[in-house]
Amino acid sequence: MLKLDKLSKTYATGDTALRQVTFEVTAGQVVGLIGPSGAGKSTLIRCINRLVEPSEGTITLGDTNLARLKGRALRRARRRIGMIFQEYALVERLTVMENVLSGRLGYVPAWRSFLRRYSPEDVSQAFSLLEKVGLSDYFNKRADALSGGQRQRVGIARALEQNPELLLVDEPTASLDPKTSRQIMRLIGSACRERNLPAIINIHDVMLAQQFTDRIIGLRAGEVVFDGSPRALTDQVLTRIFGDEDWTRMRGEEPDSEQTRTPTVDLAEGV
């Protein structure tokens, strides 16, 4: 279980990215974090595994307060948290297998990882994860030889190889096509259900968030402005999170009153 209490982050430049963020995520819950660009979504999940240093507040995972850990204790906490990245963040020149096995780095001593001598359990788990994400034949391919969707699958396998207690997912579908996006979201969702794994997913695609998460948290200018079920995400709520926009049109439904638009406005929208 993850608990954030009054988490704040102010960057050295004076920009406040997070203000007093407080919420709890229970086991097995998949939380979608939505909000406009610059709302602090990335900062929030990076504060949890301390890739970004939080300024104030506490982050409790199990019994540990992550916010004040240092050195070895911090690395031991990080290995309990799996992370999936926007541009996959695979090590391009390493093989798929090395990328998946790098999920064990927090558990094995440096000399073992240097010689790539992982324990039989680690290796067999890596093979079974690759099978699960549908890449069982690709283990000796280099990561940069894969397509976007395949890379993200390796990213998921790497995160799961950690046997995490929490999954942090940063815009997993931002550079993928709609179909692959859905497959990736489904994969993350089923992995979480299977392992009763809580997850926080940053996502700017509201429809994907509604379809694949159990709960939505809306962030605007570093503050939580919505926390509830995906069904409760009404037009008013979306306006509160993102600002004014014709939400009905975005959902692909016909608006009640068709407005006639001038061509110049349409041109500007396309940009």
């Binding site: 595994n49 890739l51 690395r75 031991r76 906490a77 990080r78 290995r79 309990r80 948290i81 992370m83 990245f85 926007q86 541009e87 963040a89 695979l90 090590v91 391009e92 020149r93 390493l94 090395e98 790098s102 999920g103 064990r104 780095l105 927090g106 558990y107 440096a110 990882s113 240097f114 990213g155 790497r158 950690q162």
Partner: protein, 271 residues
């Protein structure tokens, strides 16, 4: 309609000047530069009679170069070559071994501030002097011969390789480093899994390039007494044996060519 548009908008466009944005200043600087050039050319004092006398000697050199004599001084040439090649290889290997840790220490994204400053200091020291000056110094300290040459080349290789390696590490994709850190990896593991795969091809390329440079420099520093083919070349010229000197120059060109071709082949192979 079309005519109206061309009336409203300009039809010509010129790239704005990057420096000297003020028109008057630009012309003043250009005219100043021209006047300086004319005056400077006038101060060059050429003694045409000496040029005429020198032509004769120059022609002898060209003749020697066109009829290279490999056999008369072959023993000296072979000795010099072996010395030069030994110096080149050993100093490059020693240079690489020392410059890798220094390069890592001089990368701002990996090293703490004191280590960074110390390593940058070593690099600056090694880069401040040209090979010949260091060679003169080391010949005075360790006596004539290839050992002084080896030390000179190893020392200058450190500045070159560590600086470029450090810059390459600093330009590494930060998301790959972040991803490996997020698994709970320690510092050595981050270097091994996130940095090394990214910089390895360039490090190999730079090392081969340095091998090439070291061979050429070994010929130069031989002239100030640091052994090698340079010493042989110097002796040949001092004895007015331009045919032997021509042979040495041809051998140097051939070896540089071989190194050049093989290094481009190896670089393609490690990419």
């Amino acid at each position: 309609m079309q005519a109206q548009i061309s009336h409203q908008r300009p039809t010509t466009w010129k790239r704005p000047p990057v420096i000297f944005t003020h028109t008057l200043w630009r012309w003043a600087i250009y005219t100043g530069a021209l006047i300086y050039l004319v005056l400077a050319v006038q101060t060059i004092d050429i003694d045409w009679q000496r040029v005429w006398l020198g032509l004769d000697r120059g022609w002898k050199f060209v003749e020697g170069f066109l009829t290279p004599d490999f056999t008369t001084r072959w023993r000296d040439i072979r000795e010099g070559l072996t010395e030069s090649l030994t110096m080149t290889v050993t100093s490059t290997v020693a240079g690489i071994l020392i410059s890798v840790p220094i390069g890592i220490g001089a990368a701002r994204n990996l090293a703490p501030m004191p280590v960074y400053l110390a390593c940058r200091g070593i690099i600056t020291l090694s880069r401040s002097f040209q090979e010949i000056i260091i060679a003169i110094l080391l010949v005075a300290m360790f006596g004539f011969g290839p050992f002084a040459g080896f030390l000179t080349l190893a020392f200058t290789s450190i500045g070159f390789l560590s600086k470029l390696l450090a810059e390459d590490i600093e330009e590494c994709d930060p998301s790959q480093i972040e991803a490996i850190r997020a698994t709970g990896a320690g510092w050595w593991q981050v270097v091994n899994y996130a940095i090394q795969p990214q910089v390895m091809p360039r490090l190999v390329g730079l090392s081969l390039y340095r091998l090439d440079i070291n061979f050429r420099e070994s010929a130069v520093i031989g002239i100030v007494g640091a052994g090698g083919i340079g010493a042989t070349l110097n002796t040949a010229i001092d004895r007015y044996e331009y045919d032997s000197a021509g042979a040495i120059l041809i051998i140097i060109i051939a070896i540089v060519l071989v190194v050049e071709y093989s290094s481009s082949y190896v670089r393609r192979w490690v990419q």
